[in-house]
């Protein structure tokens, strides 16, 4: 094995003390020199196992090799063959569980910084402007496709099918596009300008974006098919419905779901004086949960001015769901982690505002059905923690609006739409689904992977249907000829 520098090339980050009071992007990205240095750590494996760890199969070896050669444009082209949202994925993918976990360097030293390189290439491409390369197809097919939800799954399906020449319409319930990329992931981690650019890119591809339409309310899926003439529908509505703890005091003022808190902050820009959106300014924030969303909420609360911001989690550091990078950044920004701590009820003041949490310490017992060790309350360890803003980040359930209003669409016991894992096909012919609405809360890249599979399946389905209809048309025409058309005989 050749000698490789054991550590990833560092990516400059803004100083924690400076960044914790503003919304600018934390990680500054590689320079060209650093990117080339990092790309040189890649061994160019005969069998690039890293690529098997990528849900959309980015040709990682090839793009990294191009970066090493300084061919950034070629690298960008290589990534775009498989991934239309590289600037986003390069920032939010949990690479340590995906491509980088497979890197052959990984057992003994740092893996190649694939995520950082992807981000570098995407940013280089944005700065050197080649978005104009993609133009709308010259001839559109006549089978229209409706996409429900403009999050990562929907954007991927739209891109793939538009490039195949299908007229695509994306329906979004909110007033801005991007789904979780817009309302969920904060500005300091994913600048919204990037989401805007990706949406614009799809508009140039000819994708129609329609906002303020709640599928299941404004228009149902059955109406999209029967009345608006869509030949296929993709449902990518995400895991919309926040899970609460169902413990006393949960409806006190100042207690938010992560969805509400993040939507107020990210989509509605509560932090900006230019916007009318209110949110309670925290002094002592407590965020319950330890996944990616919890890290987003706790770091937002710091940026909103919290003097103290806590993560409260009933298991230990080991079991946390957050990406390593975001966890470390939260720690650097001064977040206090209360592991093995289970809230039992919320305490309020005389005006109905939350003032604290009553918690109990836990210890870990046997593994539960999730494979993680079950937290068991320690008797007599109750204590009170002060908090004037509480954010509950315990995950989400699927939003029932589409399943409830779509005839013959099967859901499982959790309310997730049942879809073929290979194709996204649902129990309704012509209706496909992917992303969190199928899997429950997962990641951006998995949603994109599901979107990619569904786009392929929708294309096959529509081609078969077109062939069948053509056959029927020919058969029908032959029947007419056999019967002897008066016009022909006349």
């Amino acid at each position: 094995m050749p000698i490789v520098y054991p550590h990833k090339t560092a990516m400059p980050c803004r100083d924690p003390q400076e960044r914790r009071r503003n919304w600018d992007e934390v990680a500054e990205g590689y320079t060209a020199e650093r990117a080339i240095a990092e790309a040189h750590r890649c061994l160019n494996c005969q069998d690039p196992v890293c690529e098997q760890g990528c849900p959309v199969n980015v040709p990682i070896r090839e793009f990294v090799r191009r970066v090493a050669l300084g061919d950034f444009e070629g690298a960008a082209r290589t990534i775009r063959r498989r991934n239309l949202l590289p600037a986003i994925c390069g920032r939010v993918c949990p690479v340590e569980h995906q491509c980088e976990s497979r890197c052959v360097l990984a057992p003994h030293q740092d893996p190649v910084g694939i995520g950082r390189l992807e981000r570098f290439v995407a940013d280089w491409e944005r700065q050197h402007g080649n978005g104009e390369q993609t133009a709308a197809p010259e001839v559109w097919r006549d089978q229209k496709i409706a996409i429900v939800g403009s999050g990562p799954a929907g954007l991927t399906v739209a891109s793939d099918l538009a490039q195949l020449g299908y007229p695509v319409t994306i329906f979004e319930a909110l007033h801005a596009f991007g789904g979780v990329l817009r309302y969920g992931i904060p500005q300091y981690r994913l600048p919204k300008e990037i989401v805007d650019e990706d949406v614009e890119h799809l508009k140039r591809l000819g994708v129609e974006f329609v906002r303020d339409v709640i599928i299941g309310k404004t228009v149902t899926i059955d109406q999209l098919v029967d009345e608006f003439g869509y030949s296929a529908v993709f449902v990518g509505t995400g895991a919309g419905s926040p899970i609460f703890m169902n413990i006393p005091g949960e409806n006190l003022k100042g207690i938010y779901s992560a969805n509400e808190f993040l939507t107020r902050v990210n989509l509605m820009r509560a932090y900006s004086p230019a916007y009318d959106t209110p949110v309670r300014s925290p002094r002592r924030a407590a965020v319950i949960g330890a996944g990616d969303t919890a890290m987003d909420a706790v770091r937002c609360s710091i940026r909103l001015g919290a003097e103290e911001a806590h993560i409260v989690y009933r298991r230990s550091e080991q079991e946390k769901g957050a990406r390593a990078e975001d966890y470390e950044r939260a720690r650097d920004e001064g977040v206090i982690f209360d592991w093995l701590t289970l809230p039992q009820r919320f305490l309020g003041d005389e005006n109905g505002w939350v003032r604290g949490l009553e918690c109990i310490r836990t210890e870990l017992g046997e593994p539960d059905e999730s494979g993680r060790r079950r937290p068991v309350p320690v008797p007599g360890s109750e204590f009170t923690m002060a908090a004037d803003v509480v954010v509950i980040a315990l995950g989400t359930n699927p939003n029932p609006l589409v399943p409830q209003t779509t005839y013959g669409l099967d859901v499982d016991g959790h309310g997730c739409i049942v879809a073929d894992p290979q194709t996204g096909a649902t129990s309704r012919a012509g209706v496909y689904a992917g992303g969190d609405i199928v899997t429950g809360g997962a990641t951006v890249i998995l949603a994109m992977g599901a979107g990619r599979e569904a786009a392929t399946a929708i294309h096959e389905y529509l081609q078969q249907r077109a062939d069948r209809e053509a056959e029927q048309f020919v058969a029908g025409a032959e029947d007419v000829l056999d019967a002897g058309s008066p016009l022909l005989n006349g």
Binding site: N259, T263, G352
Partner: protein
């Protein structure tokens, strides 16, 4: 698909209460009595839920009534015929659970009167007898009694100061009618929180089933944020997707009241900045 929502008619009902007829065919096509829309007027503005007062699928219109009580509603009030809403999304929420027989009493307080009109029309079309009670502080603030009369078997107007109709609260008139043997089987009330609470208390005592339409703070209106949670019968619900109508006798009004006041300080400040000193 066209989602433009253009104002085609506007009427001043009081100094601060305005009625808009909005051409929004996509919203009108699936609208049902009891539902609401969420609208936005500026790029930096809030999303606010507003009850649907009337809808016509044939004309493609949605009618709404706005009371200027804060910054956003003041911005709406300033819009004129021909202008468009930046966002106008709906219909949201569930249709009101209306009966198919009996004698319904509909109670509208203040600008909530608009929201009971589509219920009256639907109830009448189902053959349900409809009595309406309309309440306001004073004569000049009574709105839409004439409109409601077109879909009611009888309309009773109440004012706190007695300047028009019955002198006193809607609940006083409700009890009077019940004492006189009106034989109500169902009650639906929409209005300010104190009025709905009073209706709940009265109807509970008198054993009359009652539903109220809750309008808590909302963000998305599609069940995504849970900001609109209300406690009904000891359980937490999202008003946007489980409501807006709930069993009046089971609603935790103390909590609903408190939650409605969450941003009162910010709203008062924003209202003052918007020139709403009243």
């Amino acid at each position: 698909m066209d989602t433009t929502a253009r104002i085609i008619d506007k009427r001043d009902l009081t100094d601060i209460t305005k009625l808009f007829v909005v051409h929004a065919p996509l919203v009108a096509r699936n609208a049902a009595p009891g539902q609401f829309v969420i609208l936005r007027v500026t790029e930096t503005g809030e999303r606010i839920p507003i009850s649907i007062t009337d809808f016509s699928r044939a004309a493609g219109t949605i009618t709404i009534v706005i009371q200027e009580v804060g910054r956003t509603t003041a911005l709406v009030g300033a819009l004129g015929v021909g202008e468009v809403f930046l966002d106008f999304a709906g219909p949201l929420g569930l249709a009101a659970p209306l009966p198919s027989q009996g004698h319904a009493v509909l109670i509208g307080g203040g600008f909530g009167t608009g929201a009971v009109f589509p219920l009256a029309r639907e109830l009448r079309s189902r053959g349900v007898r409809v009595s309406s009670i309309v309440g306001a502080r004073t004569r000049d603030l009574v709105i839409l009694a004439d409109l409601l009369a077109t879909e009611s078997d009888e309309v009773h107007v109440c004012t706190n100061d007695g300047s028009l109709g019955y002198r006193g609260f809607v609940t006083g008139r409700l009890e009077e009618l019940m004492d006189a043997g009106a034989g109500f089987t169902h009650c639906f009330a929409v209005g300010p929180m104190p009025m709905m609470r009073a209706v709940a208390t009265t109807t509970r005592r008198r054993g009359l089933p009652a539903m109220v339409s809750l309008d808590p703070l909302m963000v998305d209106g599609t069940g995504m944020c849970g900001g609109c949670r209300v406690t009904v019968g000891g359980k937490s619900f999202f008003a946007c997707v489980d409501g807006p109508f709930f069993d009046a006798h089971q609603v935790d009004f103390d909590e609903a009241d408190a939650r409605l006041m969450t941003y009162k300080e910010q709203e008062t400040l924003a209202g003052e900045l918007a020139g709403l000193g009243r």
